[in-house]
């Protein structure tokens, strides 16, 4: 009996001991799998976050060949349109573009009578003109002004003593802190690069004259500091109504104020500086070079969180004790290749539906493509058509900004979509474009949005 009992106990013990290792193994396996899953999720999260910060590049991220030349400012559409002299000098440009007289149409800007349809009333015109008034107060020659107002080349308020930063990092942080205070939502610092400067520069307002970097500019610039200010999401959404120009003008006003203040800030540190907006050089190229964003299909810089809904200004300075920002790519080129919402929404069909090319594909006639950059891989759009619509609309347009899927307010779910977009392959981008439409984003020419904008006073 006792033997039997002992045997039973032994067999139970044996069973118990054989069960324990099995259970431990299973538990170990479960914990192991959970741990591996958590590690994989963390690694994926870190990779996505890193990717969202952009891939840094040592060189300019767009392919360029030997045919690229710095842009002659006389060939910039707005400069050309401002200048009676240039229009008279190039009648072939007018003739080739359906006898559209750039200068005469420019003079008639903001002269159309008020209408009754939403977005084109006296109220909307008042918003538009009020928005732009800030920039005209600060820069008497207007948004394309050179050596005017806060963009003056005179080195007034230049401190005699040069401030010494203890390190380049400290200098970068100080400059960006000041920029944030003065209204920048993004700031990048890059080396001065002659490729992105207008050469020659041209002042269509004060005497129609060429300006030389060597003879006229007050110093040899070494650094360009680029700033972005945000335009209002609700107002941009009213595009292409006059209402949308309210935030465009306000953006210009903020950008001019910001770069003017930053130029004074640098001069007070003892370094020569000149503020600039649409003059001196190509904003988009400098913004890309300083890592603020990527060139989109619509020709704007697409910057994380804001998309193309920003205005850019810059400061040229001799200060160079800084750690320069690197250009970064965020997957925008790939997204734009597949999306094309801006091209669909463009009322003048100025935006190309084609893939990025080294030169314009809308025409091979040099007398027509006189304003186009050559030898750089990008989406080449016909800016003349864009300008013509502005004149017809008696306002800017902004459809391509409003329709862009990157143009979203700062809500968590858009950051989630951003994260998805940087990692996803091309076909997924087309799917996301369709989802963007289905979810009701990026609709343009919508009178309801104008009505909604005029209710945004309730938000404050």
């Amino acid at each position: 009996m006792i033997e039997e009992k002992e045997n039973k106990n032994t067999s139970e013990k044996t069973n118990e001991t054989s069960d324990v290792p099995d259970g431990s193994k299973r538990t170990f396996l479960k914990f192991g799998l959970a741990g591996a899953g958590a590690a994989a999720a963390t690694a994926t999260g870190v990779t996505i976050l890193k990717r969202m910060e952009g891939i840094p590049h040592d060189d300019f991220p767009l392919h360029m060949d030997d045919t690229y030349k710095p842009i002659d400012q006389r060939n910039v559409i707005l400069t050309f349109a401002h200048s009676k002299k240039l229009n008279e000098k190039h009648p072939e440009r007018i003739e080739k573009f359906n006898n559209f007289h750039f200068y005469e149409r420019y003079k008639q800007f903001l002269r159309q009578p008020y209408r009754t349809d939403p977005g084109y009333t006296q109220l909307d015109r008042a918003l538009q003109v009020g928005g732009f008034s800030g920039v005209f107060e600060q820069v008497p020659d207007g948004i394309d002004g050179t050596d005017s107002g806060v963009f003056s080349w005179k080195q007034e308020m230049l401190a005699k003593e040069k401030y010494r930063f203890s390190s380049k990092e400290e200098a970068v942080l100080a400059i960006k802190s000041a920029a944030r205070l003065f209204g920048a939502v993004r700031c990048g610092i890059t080396k001065h690069d002659r490729r992105w400067d207008y050469d020659p520069m041209y002042d269509p307002v004060k005497g129609d004259k060429e300006l030389s970097w060597e003879k006229d500019f007050p110093f040899v610039p070494k650094t360009v500091i680029v700033f972005m200010v945000e335009m209002d999401y609700h107002t941009v959404g009213t595009a292409p109504a006059w209402t949308a120009d309210g935030t465009v003008g306000n953006g210009y006003s903020d950008a001019a104020k910001l770069s003017g203040q930053m130029a004074i800030f640098l001069r007070q540190l003892g370094f020569k500086a000149v503020a600039s907006m649409n003059d001196l050089g190509v904003n988009a190229a400098y913004a890309v070079a300083s890592g603020l964003g990527e060139g989109g299909r619509n020709g704007s810089v697409i910057t994380p969180h804001y998309g193309p809904r920003v205005r850019i200004s810059k400061v040229y300075t001799e200060f160079d004790f800084v750690e320069y920002d690197k250009a970064r790519t965020f997957g925008v080129a790939s997204f734009c290749k597949n999306c094309k919402r801006c091209a669909d929404s463009c009322p003048s069909k100025a935006i190309s539906f084609e893939d990025a090319t080294m030169g314009p594909t809308y025409s091979d006639d040099p007398e027509y493509t006189w304003n186009a950059a050559q030898g750089i891989l990008k989406f080449h759009n016909d800016a003349k058509k864009c300008y013509q619509f502005w004149c017809d609309n008696d306002s800017g347009c902004s459809n391509c900004i409003a329709a862009c899927p990157y143009n979203k307010p700062d809500f968590w779910h858009h950051r989630l979509v951003d994260a998805q977009n940087v990692m996803a392959p091309g076909p997924m981008h087309s799917f996301m474009r369709e989802m963007d439409i289905l979810f009701g984003y990026g609709k343009v020419s919508d009178p309801e949005k104008v009505k909604n904008f005029w209710q945004t006073g309730n938000l404050i």
Binding site: Y233, K408, F411, W412, H413, F439, G440, N452
Partner: protein
């Protein structure tokens, strides 16, 4: 408003976790039950957060689409999982 939404969603998440714990004590759940219930709950919470965000940014259509594309599958998944669990319980009893 979004901050309040996050707070309420946090409270709701705690309630869901507690509910799942209670359910697992009363009823043996297999991996399919766990997957269905957790995925369903996550989808419902996601749909609420998405839709509130969309309405707050002034795009109510995005909110409705969020409810339709995330909320509805969440409800279907949760309901099916609970139905299967209840049916199994009745069969056992």
């Amino acid at each position: 408003m979004m901050d309040l939404t996050w707070y309420l969603l946090g409270a709701l998440s705690c309630a869901i976790v507690y509910g799942l714990y209670e359910l697992s004590q009363k009823q043996r759940l297999n991996w399919l039950d766990w997957t269905g219930l957790i995925l369903g709950a996550v989808l419902i919470l996601f749909a609420i957060a998405w839709s509130v965000g969309a309405v707050l940014e002034g795009v109510p259509r995005a909110g409705s689409m969020g409810m339709l594309l995330f909320g509805l599958p969440g409800i279907v998944l949760t309901t099916l999982s609970l139905r299967f669990i209840l049916a199994r319980k009745e069969k056992v009893s």
